[in-house]
């Protein structure tokens, strides 16, 4: 931590320097405490996971926000081929024997998507040895920028086992439609740094390739992990 005030007191006497050093030490101590707290409760301090909005401007309508697991009427998903970061063309039905936790996102997404993929990583770790029975997948909503190469590098930053899928816009729209998911690019051609609005729900497919449940935006990592463990029969 080496932040400096904008108006540094460059000619501060020794006592002030000592005081500043003590403040810096205190800041480090606070930082360490925060880190330790987070390590014991990974979801508790993640505002995205808790749906907490104190002091921020995340707008969350409680009436529309269940922040939890919802079972859905099991629905067999169509086999729509997409290009995978594993180097093959696969569809969401090709994960036979594995649960699939699916998110629609994009690599230029600076806030939501990395928060969700971080949640995936924390969830995966809570699964322990059963993690290999769950595939964590992001289907891009931004095929223009998200080539398989870009997706591969991005997903690997979170976990080398995470899979990214892309395709042409029509295919991706069909996949989204299977889940009633929404995405809309704000690309006006003015800037390469446009945003894409998209559904933030995580969808769960069972090992038979059926959509069986979903995790609302803000569902804590602990809740996702517990749900997956229950489905895997390890709780």
């Amino acid at each position: 931590m080496s932040q400096e005030p904008a108006d540094p007191q460059n000619r501060a006497p020794l006592t002030l320097l000592i005081a500043a050093a003590l403040v810096a030490l205190l800041a480090i101590a606070v930082f360490v405490v925060v880190i330790l707290t987070r390590s014991s409760t990974p979801a508790a301090n993640d505002p995205a996971a808790s749906g907490h909005s104190e002091g921020g401007v995340a707008i969350v309508d409680p009436a529309q926000q269940s922040t939890g697991v919802s079972d859905v009427e099991p629905k067999v998903i169509s086999a729509i081929p997409l290009q995978s970061t594993t180097g093959e063309d696969i569809s969401l039905t090709d994960f036979a024997g594995q649960y699939v936790v699916l998110y629609f996102g994009y690599t230029y997404c600076p806030d939501f998507c990395p928060t969700t993929l971080t949640d995936f990583r924390l969830t995966q770790r809570q699964l322990g040895a059963d993690a290999e029975r769950v595939a964590f997948v992001m289907v891009t909503v931004d095929p223009q920028r998200d080539t398989t190469e870009v997706l591969q590098a991005y997903m690997a930053r979170f976990d080398p086992t995470f899979i990214g899928l892309t395709g042409d816009v029509d295919s991706l729209q069909q996949v989204a439609d299977e889940f009633g998911a929404f995405f809309q690019s704000n690309d006006t051609g003015d800037s390469p740094y446009y945003m894409v609005d998209h559904t933030a729900t995580k969808f769960l497919l069972d090992p038979q390739g059926r959509w069986v449940a979903q995790y609302a935006y803000g569902t804590p990592v602990d809740v996702m992990a517990a749900d997956l463990k229950a489905r895997l029969g390890t709780e």
């Binding site: 931590m1 932040q3 904008a6 945003m195």
Partner: protein, 133 residues
């Protein structure tokens, strides 16, 4: 902690990223008697905008905002899934242990210069050793 008058920045960080976009987070406290507002943020490594995140009907949208109020005797948190500084057009990947220079300007005229650590969100350094970014 950086401070200017009643304003203090607590635990700032910028998210590690390969892509050209990333986000920065922090808590800004205001011990003063009047509201202030963050009006601009800048950095040598990218264009920086102040963004808010909106989730309606499970659809996530991010939009730039002109200012972010820091209430008197209060605190505003920029955090994942909420308000954040958006870094646009990074010229190089940001990795943990890198630092980012950020200058914040407030409605009151206060200016804060920060040197902010880059972090992988949600990861402890010890846990991240086998998956270093």
């Amino acid at each position: 902690m950086a401070a200017a008058g009643p304003l203090t920045i607590v635990e700032p960080w910028v998210r590690a990223a390969d892509a050209e976009m990333t986000a920065g987070y922090m808590m800004i406290t205001n011990s003063g008697e009047t509201d202030d507002a963050l009006v601009t943020a800048s950095s040598p490594i990218a264009t920086v905008e102040i963004h808010e995140t909106i989730v309606e009907n499970e659809i996530a949208r991010m939009r730039p905002i002109d200012s972010l109020v820091i209430p008197a005797q209060g605190m505003t948190e920029l955090k994942p899934g909420g308000a954040h500084l958006m870094f646009i057009g990074l010229t190089e990947p940001l990795n943990p242990d890198d630092t980012v220079e950020i200058t914040l300007t407030f409605e009151s005229g206060a200016v804060l210069k920060l040197t902010v650590p880059v972090r992988d969100a949600g990861m402890m350094p010890a846990m991240d050793m086998d998956h270093g970014g």
